[in-house]
């Protein structure tokens, strides 16, 4: 049997860590091959080796049966390998077309032939059903469209084998459905796909085979037909994973966060948050369900002080925090796991330890009289990476070198550890493996049981349904319904999120 891709006995080391240890991966032509493993297992690293970004210490790579020597991204490209990275690599200020042709511009008479480039891009986008606006700038388009640009970029370079590194982690449910259609279309047209995802449902739905790695080592490859999510999870984590969230009934107490008729008008003069009122009590987890773009992000920004309210009032712990600067809000008892971990959550060039004190560096014991105290800082970091299982060689490693899921765990550790009275968790389990998700959910519930208020925002309806004690539906900048997760269904929620009404619920 000949494979389009065969990676044999790959070993890749980083300072203090063996990211890939004797891994073998075989991909057949025309299949969607899943790569599954815990956070930090070495999936992205393995794919970066295949794409020629990293040189392995040991091992061989064969593409269509031919051995690849001295691999680098140019060689990988010419062999028909294309990669859509976990964190996109696009030039914000360039248009969609410019990004796609970058590095392989068609030239006519010494200048870039924009016309033929645009035509080529249009053709590809039609062939694979990848709808993009060729003239829009990257900074102005949605994450879903940015991803389609990344896919087009690889196709434009003639990719036959596409690597998708956690493509669905940043997408909304609707966008995920579209992406799955696109992937099916791609294999129909004869492409092969390697898909990294933590969502077992997706593997069951689109993949043909699945290779599991754990802590840098191959565990095995299975046919998806012959397996099920529980078995996959056990294979990956090395123990049974509990998918059902265990929790007792909530005992809500006094209100902690009160938003009263809050309106936010953005730079385009649109009311993105439109007279929104909401109360979160101590001892409860309130989930926000809504289709992306209905004001969730802006609502969180206005609570946390990152954006100004045009009108209305926000109270935290009985104190008014409307339009107060972020530091003041934080000190009134806020913790915030932000939606975009690279933009807001971390200073990537800081060490893990420095990131752990991002909210507290100016306080004792981390500094005294304006002088940083490194021992307490790094001691704290040691304790947290242990408790939250953040996999990193040590606390002095720059956050940039952590795997995506471990970066997320570091942020959660920082915010949850401060045990704030009010904790905002925006897409907290994005990019986490099933074991870590189970752990984070239990942490949120533990906070609740300790009498803290938790606001959970997630695009994963299942997560909202399982973890929340109450669910508020947000639609066009307003809370349109509040429902009890035990008395509703995903269908009903979906309807409410689309702007439908339900009898008997009050906003």
């Amino acid at each position: 049997m000949e494979y389009v891709i065969e990676m044999r006995n790959i070993r890749k080391e980083f300072p203090g860590i063996v990211a890939n240890d004797d891994i073998t991966l075989q991909v057949k032509k025309g299949e969607i091959h899943a790569l599954l493993g815990e956070n930090g297992a070495g999936k992205s690293t393995l794919m970066n080796v295949l794409f020629g970004l990293y040189q392995p210490e040991k091992g061989e790579i064969f593409v269509k049966g031919k051995k690849v020597e001295n691999n680098d991204p140019n060689i990988a490209n010419s062999l028909g390998i294309g990669m859509v990275h976990q964190h996109f690599m696009l030039v914000d200020k360039f248009t969609v077309t410019e990004n796609i042709i970058l590095g392989k511009e068609p030239v006519k008479g010494g200048t870039v032939d924009v016309k033929s480039a645009a035509a080529e891009v249009a053709k590809l986008s039609k062939q694979y059903g990848l709808s993009v606006n060729p003239n829009a700038r990257i900074e102005d388009i949605s994450v879903g469209m940015q991803q389609r640009v990344e896919i087009l970029k690889t196709l434009y370079r003639g990719a036959e084998i596409l690597i998708f590194d956690e493509p669905t982690a940043v997408l909304t449910p609707q966008e995920i459905k579209e992406l799955i259609q696109i992937m099916k279309k791609l294999v129909q047209e004869g492409k092969s796909i390697i898909l990294i995802t933590h969502k077992l449902k997706e593997i069951m739905e689109v993949c043909d085979r699945c290779t599991v790695i754990r802590r840098g080592r191959s565990i095995g490859t299975v046919d998806v037909e012959d397996t099920n999510p529980d078995a996959l999870a056990a294979m990956m984590v090395g123990r049974e994973v509990n998918f059902k969230v265990e929790k007792s009934d909530s005992v809500p107490k006094h209100p902690v966060l009160q938003m009263d008729d809050v309106t936010v008008v953005d730079s385009r003069k649109v009311s993105v948050v439109d007279g929104l009122s909401l109360t979160v009590h101590a001892g409860e987890i309130l989930g926000i369900a809504g289709v992306d773009g209905n004001g969730q992000t802006e609502m969180l920004e206005v609570i946390t002080g990152l954006r100004k309210a045009t009108s209305g009032k926000i109270m935290l712990n009985g104190k008014e925090i409307t339009n107060k600067p972020p530091r003041k809000v934080t000190e009134s008892g806020l913790g915030h796991i932000p939606e975009d971990r690279h933009k807001h959550g971390l200073v990537l060039d800081f060490s893990v330890g420095e990131n752990i004190v991002l909210q507290t560096y100016y306080k004792k014991p981390y500094s005294k009289g304006g002088i940083l105290k490194f021992k307490p800082i790094f001691d704290k970091a040691e304790k947290l990476i242990e408790e939250f299982d953040v996999r990193t060689p040590n606390v002095y490693t720059p956050a940039r070198a952590l795997s995506g899921g471990n970066q997320q765990k570091a942020i959660i550790a920082r915010e949850v550890d401060r045990s704030p009275d009010f904790l905002i968790a925006a897409q907290p389990t994005r990019g986490l493996d099933v074991g870590a998700i189970e752990f984070i959910h239990s942490k949120l519930i533990q906070e609740r049981d300790n009498g803290k208020a938790v606001l959970l925002v997630s695009f994963e309806l299942e997560e909202v349904m399982n973890v929340s004690d109450r669910i508020a539906v947000i639609y066009e900048g307003k809370i349109t319904a509040i429902v009890d997760p035990k008395e509703t269904t995903e269908q009903e929620l979906g309807l409410l999120m689309a702007g439908g009404k339900k009898a008997g619920v009050i906003a």
């Binding site: 001295n70 990152l306 972020p326 530091r327 933009k343 200073v347 060039d349 304006g370 002088i371 940083l372």
Partner: protein
């Protein structure tokens, strides 16, 4: 790999210096000068006795400070091209205090240096403010502030401080950094106490940046403004502060000229160049405090050595200008050096 990185930090400047000297030699040979004789004179001019050492240290002193100014701003995500202007206002402020105030040396010298730091700091804070408030890019405003500084200091000297010879009066003895003792010990070079100030400044830069909460905030803002804002750090305030601290280093560099080397300020027809050399020094020193000292030593040494090269080997000093430019070029192209090293490593392995 970690080790390789540290090694590269030193290798890049060293290889760049060697390449710069080599190509300099080729240029000399083509222009029919004797490169061996020229470099012999150059090295004699750098290491050939206490006089040259004294001159080199004197040359280094303002370069260290202007290098620190550039490096500090760079570490916090800003390009301070305005060191030259901040240096000029610092120079004038120190001379003004040196001329007009009457105090014992223990007060007079620190006061004059402080005045220079404050003047440079304020001059630097203006572009910082414009950036924080109106998002005007600091490169443009700092360059404009350089010209404003040049013509304003000249006008002030002309209007209020003019002494015969197109310059101010000399500063009082109590404000002078001159050291008869050091001069005697170095065969009557023009060395002065300023280098102590420069070394202290280097220590201060390191300490502020890496050991204080202020430095933490400044670096955080330099790396990621969004995350800093999220963490409650006042981004605008830190941009202004960073430019002010950077400007203060530059202003103190000016006081080294005013209180040390010259003892007065002349009406300048053009820029001193010390501020711009600071960019190169910072680049050579990889923006670290210690690196800046080494970078300044290299610059200072080459400039002093070049004088000897001219008098003994008859090679024009401009050649050294070319060598310095080449060294900067190669450091800036360190990517190229990395690439060569990687290729060699790879070749060795396979």
């Amino acid at each position: 790999m970690e080790n390789q990185k540290n090694w590269m930090k030193i290798a890049v400047p060293v290889i760049s210096v060697i390449l710069g000297l080599l190509i300099g030699a080729i240029i000399m040979a083509v222009s029919e000068y004797d490169p061996i004789k020229a470099y012999g004179a150059l090295f004699q001019g750098v290491f050939g006795g206490s006089y040259f050492l004294g001159e080199t240290v004197r040359q280094m002193t303002p370069l260290i400070l202007s290098g620190l100014a550039v490096a500090f701003a760079f570490r916090t995500g800003l390009f301070n091209i305005g060191v030259e202007g901040q240096l000029l206002v610092g120079w004038l402020a120190s001379v003004y205090v040196g001329v007009t105030v009457d105090a014992p040396a223990v007060i007079h010298i620190p006061l004059a240096i402080l005045a220079a730091g404050v003047a440079g700091g304020l001059w630097g804070a203006v572009p910082g403010f414009l950036k924080a408030r109106f998002q005007v890019h600091e490169v443009i405003t700092t360059i404009m502030m350089n010209y404003i500084a040049l013509y304003t200091t000249n006008a002030i000297i002309r209007a209020y401080l003019l002494a015969p010879g197109e310059r101010t009066e000399a500063v009082a003895k109590s404000a002078s950094l001159k050291s008869v003792w050091l001069e005697n010990a170095t065969d009557y070079s023009t060395i002065h106490y300023g280098f102590i100030v420069a070394l202290i400044a280097a220590a201060v830069m390191w300490f502020v940046l890496w050991r204080t909460t202020t430095g933490y905030e400044l670096r955080s803002v330099g790396f990621n403004q969004h995350a800093s804002q999220y963490a409650g750090i006042n981004v605008s305030r830190n941009i202004v502060l960073s430019m002010a601290i950077s400007g203060a280093f530059a202003g103190i560099a000016g006081s080294m000229e005013g209180l040390g080397t010259y003892q007065y300020m002349t009406i300048n027809a053009g820029f001193t160049g010390v501020g711009f050399d600071g960019i190169a020094v910072a680049l050579l020193g990889a923006n670290s405090a210690l690196g800046v000292i080494f970078g300044a030593a290299l610059f200072g040494g080459l400039k002093i050595g070049a004088l000897n090269m001219q008098s003994i080997a008859g090679v024009p000093t401009e050649i050294i200008g070319i060598v310095i430019a080449l060294i900067i070029f190669f450091v800036a192209c360190s990517y190229l050096v990395h690439w060569v090293v990687n290729k060699v490593n790879k070749g060795g392995k396979i």
